[in-house]
Subunit: 114 residues, 2 copies
DNA sequence: ACGATACGTGACCAATGAGTCACATGTCAA
DNA sequence: TTGACATGTGACTCATTGGTCACGTATCGT
Protein backbone atom coordinates (compact mmCIF):
# COMPACT_ATOMS: atom_id res chain seq x y z
CA UNK A 1 0.00 0.00 0.00
CA UNK A 2 1.34 3.41 -0.94
CA UNK A 3 0.14 5.23 2.15
CA UNK A 4 -2.68 5.04 4.63
CA UNK A 5 -4.67 7.96 5.93
CA UNK A 6 -5.83 6.41 9.14
CA UNK A 7 -8.10 9.20 10.30
CA UNK A 8 -10.15 11.26 7.90
CA UNK A 9 -11.10 13.55 10.75
CA UNK A 10 -7.51 14.61 11.03
CA UNK A 11 -7.54 16.05 7.54
CA UNK A 12 -10.72 17.98 8.23
CA UNK A 13 -9.28 19.46 11.40
CA UNK A 14 -6.05 20.42 9.66
CA UNK A 15 -7.95 22.03 6.81
CA UNK A 16 -10.14 23.89 9.28
CA UNK A 17 -7.07 25.20 11.06
CA UNK A 18 -5.35 26.16 7.82
CA UNK A 19 -7.30 29.41 7.46
CA UNK A 20 -6.11 32.52 9.29
CA UNK A 21 -9.61 33.84 9.88
CA UNK A 22 -10.76 30.58 11.37
CA UNK A 23 -7.84 30.47 13.78
CA UNK A 24 -8.72 34.03 14.71
CA UNK A 25 -12.28 32.90 15.36
CA UNK A 26 -11.00 30.21 17.66
CA UNK A 27 -8.89 32.82 19.37
CA UNK A 28 -11.93 35.02 19.84
CA UNK A 29 -13.82 32.12 21.36
CA UNK A 30 -10.83 31.37 23.55
CA UNK A 31 -10.88 34.83 25.08
CA UNK A 32 -14.65 34.75 25.53
CA UNK A 33 -16.51 31.50 25.13
CA UNK A 34 -20.14 31.07 24.15
CA UNK A 35 -20.45 33.98 21.73
CA UNK A 36 -23.23 34.55 19.27
CA UNK A 37 -22.78 34.95 15.55
CA UNK A 38 -23.37 38.68 15.62
CA UNK A 39 -20.93 39.17 18.47
CA UNK A 40 -18.30 37.35 16.44
CA UNK A 41 -19.14 39.42 13.37
CA UNK A 42 -18.24 42.58 15.27
CA UNK A 43 -14.74 41.19 15.64
CA UNK A 44 -14.40 40.89 11.86
CA UNK A 45 -15.63 44.16 10.34
CA UNK A 46 -13.90 43.39 7.03
CA UNK A 47 -16.18 40.44 6.45
CA UNK A 48 -19.87 39.86 6.03
CA UNK A 49 -21.98 37.86 8.43
CA UNK A 50 -22.21 35.14 5.83
CA UNK A 51 -18.48 34.80 5.61
CA UNK A 52 -18.21 34.40 9.37
CA UNK A 53 -21.07 31.92 9.32
CA UNK A 54 -19.34 29.84 6.70
CA UNK A 55 -16.17 29.73 8.76
CA UNK A 56 -18.18 28.76 11.80
CA UNK A 57 -19.73 25.99 9.76
CA UNK A 58 -16.32 24.63 8.82
CA UNK A 59 -15.16 24.80 12.41
CA UNK A 60 -18.33 23.08 13.55
CA UNK A 61 -17.89 20.35 10.94
CA UNK A 62 -14.40 19.78 12.29
CA UNK A 63 -15.87 19.59 15.78
CA UNK A 64 -13.71 22.50 16.84
CA UNK A 65 -16.72 24.49 17.98
CA UNK A 66 -19.96 23.25 19.47
CA UNK A 67 -23.23 25.17 19.50
CA UNK A 68 -26.35 25.45 21.58
CA UNK A 69 -29.54 27.20 20.51
CA UNK A 70 -30.79 29.80 22.93
CA UNK A 71 -34.08 31.08 21.61
CA UNK A 72 -33.37 32.93 18.42
CA UNK A 73 -29.64 33.12 19.08
CA UNK A 74 -26.99 30.44 18.66
CA UNK A 75 -24.11 30.28 21.06
CA UNK A 76 -20.72 29.03 19.93
CA UNK A 77 -18.30 27.26 22.22
CA UNK A 78 -14.73 26.28 21.58
CA UNK A 79 -13.95 22.57 21.72
CA UNK A 80 -10.21 21.98 22.11
CA UNK A 81 -10.48 18.19 21.97
CA UNK A 82 -9.63 17.80 18.25
CA UNK A 83 -6.62 20.05 18.69
CA UNK A 84 -5.42 17.98 21.58
CA UNK A 85 -5.96 14.84 19.54
CA UNK A 86 -3.86 16.33 16.78
CA UNK A 87 -1.09 17.01 19.22
CA UNK A 88 -1.38 13.51 20.63
CA UNK A 89 -1.67 11.40 17.51
CA UNK A 90 0.46 13.35 15.09
CA UNK A 91 2.57 16.17 16.39
CA UNK A 92 4.02 14.42 19.39
CA UNK A 93 5.45 11.93 16.92
CA UNK A 94 7.87 14.60 15.76
CA UNK A 95 8.46 16.05 19.20
CA UNK A 96 11.58 14.16 20.09
CA UNK A 97 14.02 15.47 22.68
CA UNK A 98 16.37 16.17 19.79
CA UNK A 99 13.76 18.41 18.26
CA UNK A 100 13.22 20.19 21.55
CA UNK A 101 16.85 21.20 21.60
CA UNK A 102 16.66 22.36 17.99
CA UNK A 103 13.65 24.54 18.67
CA UNK A 104 15.30 26.16 21.64
CA UNK A 105 18.42 26.79 19.60
CA UNK A 106 16.47 28.32 16.73
CA UNK A 107 14.54 30.47 19.20
CA UNK A 108 17.79 31.74 20.64
CA UNK A 109 19.17 32.49 17.19
CA UNK A 110 16.03 34.37 16.21
CA UNK A 111 16.16 36.56 19.29
CA UNK A 112 19.83 37.35 19.32
CA UNK A 113 20.53 41.11 19.36
CA UNK A 114 23.66 41.91 17.36
CA UNK B 1 -7.29 46.45 14.76
CA UNK B 2 -9.69 43.56 14.27
CA UNK B 3 -7.22 40.77 14.80
CA UNK B 4 -3.51 40.23 14.57
CA UNK B 5 -1.83 37.32 12.90
CA UNK B 6 1.40 37.45 14.80
CA UNK B 7 3.29 34.90 12.75
CA UNK B 8 2.78 34.57 9.03
CA UNK B 9 4.91 31.44 9.08
CA UNK B 10 2.28 29.73 11.16
CA UNK B 11 -0.31 30.08 8.43
CA UNK B 12 2.06 28.67 5.85
CA UNK B 13 2.86 25.67 8.03
CA UNK B 14 -0.81 25.01 8.73
CA UNK B 15 -1.65 25.24 5.04
CA UNK B 16 1.22 22.92 4.20
CA UNK B 17 -0.04 20.39 6.73
CA UNK B 18 -3.63 20.67 5.52
CA UNK B 19 -3.07 18.38 2.54
CA UNK B 20 -3.28 14.62 3.02
CA UNK B 21 -0.63 13.86 0.43
CA UNK B 22 1.81 16.27 2.02
CA UNK B 23 1.34 14.71 5.44
CA UNK B 24 1.94 11.35 3.79
CA UNK B 25 5.15 12.74 2.31
CA UNK B 26 6.26 13.82 5.75
CA UNK B 27 5.41 10.36 7.00
CA UNK B 28 7.49 8.81 4.25
CA UNK B 29 10.41 11.04 5.20
CA UNK B 30 9.86 10.12 8.82
CA UNK B 31 10.28 6.42 8.13
CA UNK B 32 13.32 7.02 5.90
CA UNK B 33 14.99 10.40 5.89
CA UNK B 34 17.02 11.92 3.09
CA UNK B 35 15.08 10.51 0.15
CA UNK B 36 15.33 11.65 -3.43
CA UNK B 37 12.44 12.88 -5.52
CA UNK B 38 12.22 9.70 -7.54
CA UNK B 39 12.26 7.53 -4.43
CA UNK B 40 9.36 9.53 -3.06
CA UNK B 41 7.53 9.27 -6.36
CA UNK B 42 7.56 5.47 -6.08
CA UNK B 43 5.56 5.86 -2.89
CA UNK B 44 2.84 7.76 -4.76
CA UNK B 45 2.08 5.82 -7.94
CA UNK B 46 -1.21 7.64 -8.42
CA UNK B 47 0.59 10.91 -8.97
CA UNK B 48 3.09 12.30 -11.43
CA UNK B 49 6.56 13.37 -10.51
CA UNK B 50 5.51 16.97 -10.97
CA UNK B 51 2.74 16.63 -8.46
CA UNK B 52 5.13 15.25 -5.89
CA UNK B 53 7.61 17.99 -6.69
CA UNK B 54 5.00 20.65 -6.16
CA UNK B 55 4.12 19.21 -2.77
CA UNK B 56 7.78 19.08 -1.87
CA UNK B 57 8.03 22.72 -2.89
CA UNK B 58 5.21 23.67 -0.55
CA UNK B 59 6.74 21.69 2.29
CA UNK B 60 10.10 23.28 1.60
CA UNK B 61 8.55 26.75 1.59
CA UNK B 62 7.06 25.97 4.97
CA UNK B 63 10.50 24.85 6.13
CA UNK B 64 9.09 21.42 6.90
CA UNK B 65 11.65 19.75 4.67
CA UNK B 66 15.23 20.79 3.96
CA UNK B 67 17.24 19.73 0.94
CA UNK B 68 20.84 19.15 -0.04
CA UNK B 69 22.09 18.69 -3.58
CA UNK B 70 24.14 15.59 -4.15
CA UNK B 71 25.37 15.69 -7.70
CA UNK B 72 22.36 15.42 -9.97
CA UNK B 73 20.11 14.23 -7.17
CA UNK B 74 18.40 16.23 -4.45
CA UNK B 75 17.96 14.73 -1.02
CA UNK B 76 15.01 15.69 1.13
CA UNK B 77 15.13 15.73 4.90
CA UNK B 78 12.32 16.19 7.35
CA UNK B 79 12.53 19.21 9.60
CA UNK B 80 10.24 18.85 12.62
CA UNK B 81 11.06 22.29 14.02
CA UNK B 82 8.05 24.15 12.58
CA UNK B 83 5.75 21.41 13.85
CA UNK B 84 7.22 21.70 17.29
CA UNK B 85 6.85 25.47 17.14
CA UNK B 86 3.20 25.01 16.24
CA UNK B 87 2.71 22.81 19.26
CA UNK B 88 4.53 25.29 21.45
CA UNK B 89 3.07 28.58 20.33
CA UNK B 90 -0.46 27.57 19.45
CA UNK B 91 -1.65 24.12 20.35
CA UNK B 92 -0.34 24.01 23.89
CA UNK B 93 -2.55 27.01 24.52
CA UNK B 94 -5.57 24.75 24.24
CA UNK B 95 -3.95 21.82 26.02
CA UNK B 96 -5.25 22.44 29.48
CA UNK B 97 -5.49 19.66 32.07
CA UNK B 98 -9.24 19.84 31.63
CA UNK B 99 -8.82 19.06 27.97
CA UNK B 100 -6.56 16.16 28.76
CA UNK B 101 -9.30 14.53 30.76
CA UNK B 102 -11.81 15.14 27.98
CA UNK B 103 -9.58 13.55 25.37
CA UNK B 104 -9.04 10.48 27.48
CA UNK B 105 -12.76 10.22 28.06
CA UNK B 106 -13.57 10.55 24.38
CA UNK B 107 -10.91 7.96 23.57
CA UNK B 108 -12.49 5.55 26.00
CA UNK B 109 -15.93 6.17 24.54
CA UNK B 110 -14.67 5.60 21.01
CA UNK B 111 -13.07 2.30 21.90
CA UNK B 112 -15.80 0.84 24.02
CA UNK B 113 -16.99 -2.52 22.70
CA UNK B 114 -20.71 -2.67 23.34
C1' DA C 1 30.82 13.32 -27.12
C1' DC C 2 26.56 11.10 -26.24
C1' DG C 3 22.68 9.01 -24.37
C1' DA C 4 20.48 8.25 -20.17
C1' DT C 5 19.26 9.89 -15.79
C1' DA C 6 17.52 13.43 -12.30
C1' DC C 7 15.64 17.56 -11.45
C1' DG C 8 13.47 22.28 -12.81
C1' DT C 9 10.10 25.74 -15.09
C1' DG C 10 6.25 27.78 -17.14
C1' DA C 11 1.86 27.31 -18.96
C1' DC C 12 -2.33 25.23 -18.51
C1' DC C 13 -6.78 22.96 -16.66
C1' DA C 14 -10.13 21.40 -13.17
C1' DA C 15 -11.64 21.48 -8.63
C1' DT C 16 -11.93 23.43 -4.35
C1' DG C 17 -12.80 27.16 -1.28
C1' DA C 18 -13.49 32.01 0.42
C1' DG C 19 -16.72 35.53 0.21
C1' DT C 20 -21.04 37.92 -1.12
C1' DC C 21 -25.98 38.61 -2.03
C1' DA C 22 -31.03 37.90 -2.42
C1' DC C 23 -34.16 35.70 0.03
C1' DA C 24 -36.30 32.82 3.61
C1' DT C 25 -37.37 31.01 8.38
C1' DG C 26 -37.84 31.40 13.08
C1' DT C 27 -38.26 34.28 17.51
C1' DC C 28 -38.82 38.04 20.73
C1' DA C 29 -41.34 42.18 22.44
C1' DA C 30 -44.88 45.49 22.45
C1' DT D 1 -50.14 40.60 14.98
C1' DT D 2 -46.73 43.16 13.40
C1' DG D 3 -42.26 44.56 13.02
C1' DA D 4 -37.55 44.14 14.34
C1' DC D 5 -33.95 40.99 15.21
C1' DA D 6 -31.02 36.55 14.69
C1' DT D 7 -29.85 32.93 12.04
C1' DG D 8 -30.19 29.83 7.69
C1' DT D 9 -29.89 28.50 2.52
C1' DG D 10 -28.85 28.32 -2.28
C1' DA D 11 -26.71 30.26 -6.13
C1' DC D 12 -23.12 32.96 -7.77
C1' DT D 13 -18.20 35.04 -8.47
C1' DC D 14 -13.40 35.04 -8.00
C1' DA D 15 -8.95 33.50 -6.29
C1' DT D 16 -6.33 29.66 -4.89
C1' DT D 17 -4.51 25.24 -5.51
C1' DG D 18 -3.79 20.32 -6.80
C1' DG D 19 -2.35 18.12 -10.79
C1' DT D 20 -0.57 17.43 -15.53
C1' DC D 21 2.22 18.20 -19.66
C1' DA D 22 5.79 19.91 -22.96
C1' DC D 23 10.02 21.41 -22.70
C1' DG D 24 14.69 22.71 -20.71
C1' DT D 25 19.01 22.27 -17.86
C1' DA D 26 22.43 19.86 -15.37
C1' DT D 27 25.00 15.57 -14.33
C1' DC D 28 26.65 10.85 -14.58
C1' DG D 29 28.67 6.68 -17.05
C1' DT D 30 30.79 4.96 -21.04
Amino acid sequence: MPFVEADVTQGIVFKALADDTRRAVLDALFTRDGQTVRALCERFPEMTRFGVMKHLGVLEAANLVTTTREGRTKLHFLNPVPIQQLADRWISKYAQPFTRAMVDLQFDLEHQTA
